[in-house]
């Protein structure tokens, strides 16, 4: 991965890296990507396998089975305001 690719992927992954971290990771990640790259030449069948058993997805009735436990769900929130999750401004300041 070059510098530009690294920045793009880190941004997609929502991760920050210091220059030192990036240097440490870059070599390892490049080695791993090269390692898995051997698959490119493998004579594979055309159909991808997304799941161990390709059976139809089992559906259930669209019914509410869990109670509304607002208090329990909010108990783990790192920041709350008036019983709502608190986040910074969604739109960056102009």
């Amino acid at each position: 991965m070059d510098e530009q690719q690294w920045g793009h992927v880190a941004q997609l992954a929502r991760l920050f890296f210091t220059a030192e971290e990036q240097a440490a990771y870059a070599t390892q990640v490049s080695r791993i990507v090269a390692f898995v790259g051997v698959l490119a030449n493998a004579p594979c069948p055309p159909t991808p396998m997304a799941h161990p058993f390709e059976s139809a997805v089992r559906l259930r009735d669209d019914l509410v089975i869990e109670g509304d436990d607002r208090e329990a769900l909010l108990a783990n929130a790192p920041a709350l305001h008036d019983g709502l999750f608190l986040v910074p401004m969604v739109l960056d300041a102009p």
Binding site: M1, Q5, H8, V9, A10, L12, A13, R14, L15, F16, F17, Y25, Q28, V29, R31, I32, V33, F35, V36, G37, V38, L39, A40, A42, C44, P45, P46, T47, P48, M49, A50, H51, P52, F53, V57, R58, L59, R60, I65, E66, D69, A72, L73, A75, N76, A77, P78, A79, F85, V87, P88, M89, V90, D92
Partner: protein, 486 residues
């Protein structure tokens, strides 16, 4: 006195009245406290909850209301299973203070049988690791040699069972995380067929590979617990509808003439010759028990590691996108924008191995690389599954060493992720094909345990358990305890 006893034996002791659940629970809690600093195998010990559950079990027994053979038996859960009101950290700073609002199905089903939860065990962060050194809570040490790793990611579960701090524990297996630590710690560990056990409330790593398992002293103990946790769960859409057999009844089924395929490729480059020799001796024991052992092949085995290290990180990068510092989990201080909140919370909350895998997963899923990496890996997965299918035309079960070597020294592979990934070379293919497999102790090299892996067709757990049980009736490897903890 009770450290080495199996669940089956403890259950008999409870039934005969020779001990109470309270005595058992106190015994394991005391041992856990005594050895806490040496192994670092627990993240949470719930002494008050365990004693209350034990008291309730004893009360039921006194009133003739026993729930079953597991009522009053202590156990440990890997800290990846959600436990209502108790910390569920997944070995990560990200969830260091997380208390789940519900129980995982595995947790709920075992609790409904009266099992006593001692606590939650240490693990590689988000189950990503083969040595239990990526945990935010520090590495776990191997009870057989405290300078060595217990394997991973269910290293804490393996260590507590091996050291006699709990008679049985749950684990999870995405690429070998039940079987490899079971092998390195000298215990038995089953990874059931994909879909056999509900994953509801089991924190996700790679959803097409993850499966819950049991780590115990014997195959018979695994059968007892699997009976409870196996089966359809409407809360998990990937949970299988296949009927659940009577695993205990199948333990004694005749096995004469059963075809065992010894997979040549499992003894490939990187395999310690001494480990291979121990496994060959174990194969001879199976032969003496009347099983027909012949050579088998998995010719695409060399594709398994590259395939896994594309698919698992890709699925992980998607599953772990939910950790954003908003609704639960770690949140960075003083973020000025939403993007900064997400990125700093994730960067500070995840450890190096998790970040490395998220990066790789994001890369292989990104525009321009998806077809070459992710799609191609999904195609290669077909080859690997077909390979097993062909092998099972000639054999009823497949066999090989669980891991290429015995427990390695702490820190020996932390700087070289690719060397670490090789630890799971014989276990990963099984997850890619969704098959059941068990690791059982089959000997030692320089005083360190060696694991024998048995692999079966989908939903053939009863056969694997029967073969493992028969092997354990003929040997005593599963009864050996590390000297420092006996």
């Amino acid at each position: 006195m009770t450290d080495w006893r199996s669940v089956t034996e403890l259950s008999r002791a409870l039934a005969s009245g020779s001990c109470s659940s309270m005595e058992l629970t106190r015994h394991f809690l005391e041992r856990s406290a005594r050895f806490a600093g040496r192994l670092n195998a627990w993240i949470t010990v719930d002494e008050a909850g365990a004693l209350a559950a034990a008291q309730a079990a004893d009360r039921r027994r006194a009133h003739g209301e026993v729930l079953g053979p597991l009522d009053g038996i202590p156990l440990a859960h890997k800290d990846i299973f959600c436990t209502k009101g108790l910390l569920t950290t997944c070995g990560s700073r990200m969830l260091a203070n997380f208390k789940a609002p519900y129980d995982a199905t595995v947790v709920a089903r075992l609790a409904a049988q009266g099992m006593v939860l001692l606590g939650k065990t240490n693990m590689d962060e988000f189950a990503m690791g083969s040595s239990n050194e990526t945990s935010y809570f520090g590495p776990v040490r191997n009870p057989w040699d405290e300078g060595r790793v217990p394997g991973g990611s269910s290293g804490g579960s393996a260590a507590v069972v091996a050291a006699g701090l709990a008679p049985v524990a749950t684990g999870t297996d995405t690429g070998g995380s039940v079987r490899q630590p079971a092998a390195l710690c000298g215990i038995s560990g089953l990874k059931p067929t994909y879909g056999r056990v509900s994953r509801y409330g089991m924190i996700a790593f790679a959803s097409s590979l993850d499966q819950a398992g049991i780590m115990a002293r014997s195959a018979a103990d695994i059968a007892l617990l699997l009976q409870v946790i196996a089966g359809l769960d409407e809360r998990d859409a990937t949970s299988a509808t296949a009927a659940v057999p009577d695993y205990m009844a199948h333990l004694e089924h005749p096995l004469a003439g059963l075809r065992v395929g010894v997979v040549d490729e499992f003894f490939g480059p990187g395999m310690d010759g001494r480990v291979a020799a121990v496994v060959e001796q174990a194969t001879a024991i199976l032969g003496n028990l009347g099983l027909r052992c012949t050579s088998a092949h998995l010719r695409e085995l060399h594709l398994a590691l590259p395939t896994y290290y594309i698919l698992a990180p890709a699925e992980a990068s998607s599953n772990l996108a939910r950790y954003d510092g908003v609704r639960y989990g770690y949140r960075c201080a003083e973020a000025h924008s939403l993007y900064e909140l997400y990125a700093r919370s994730r960067s500070e909350g995840f450890g190096p191995e998790v970040k490395r895998r998220i990066l790789i997963g994001t890369y292989v899923l990104s525009r321009g690389y998806y077809d070459a990496f992710y799609l191609q890996a999904q195609r290669a997965r077909h080859l690997i599954a077909a390979d097993f299918h062909h092998a099972f035309e000639q054999a009823d079960i497949l066999l090989g060493p669980t891991a290429p070597e015995t427990a390695f020294a702490l820190g020996a592979k932390t700087a070289d992720p690719l060397a670490m990934y090789q630890s799971d070379i014989n276990t990963i293919p099984v997850n890619l094909a969704g098959l059941p497999a068990i690791s059982i102790p089959c000997g030692e090299v320089d005083g360190l345990p060696v694991g024998l892996q048995l692999i079966g067709r989908p939903f053939s757990e009863e056969l694997l358990l029967a073969v493992a049980h028969r092997f354990q009736q003929a040997t005593d490897y599963h009864r050996r305890l590390p000297e420092a903890f006996s």
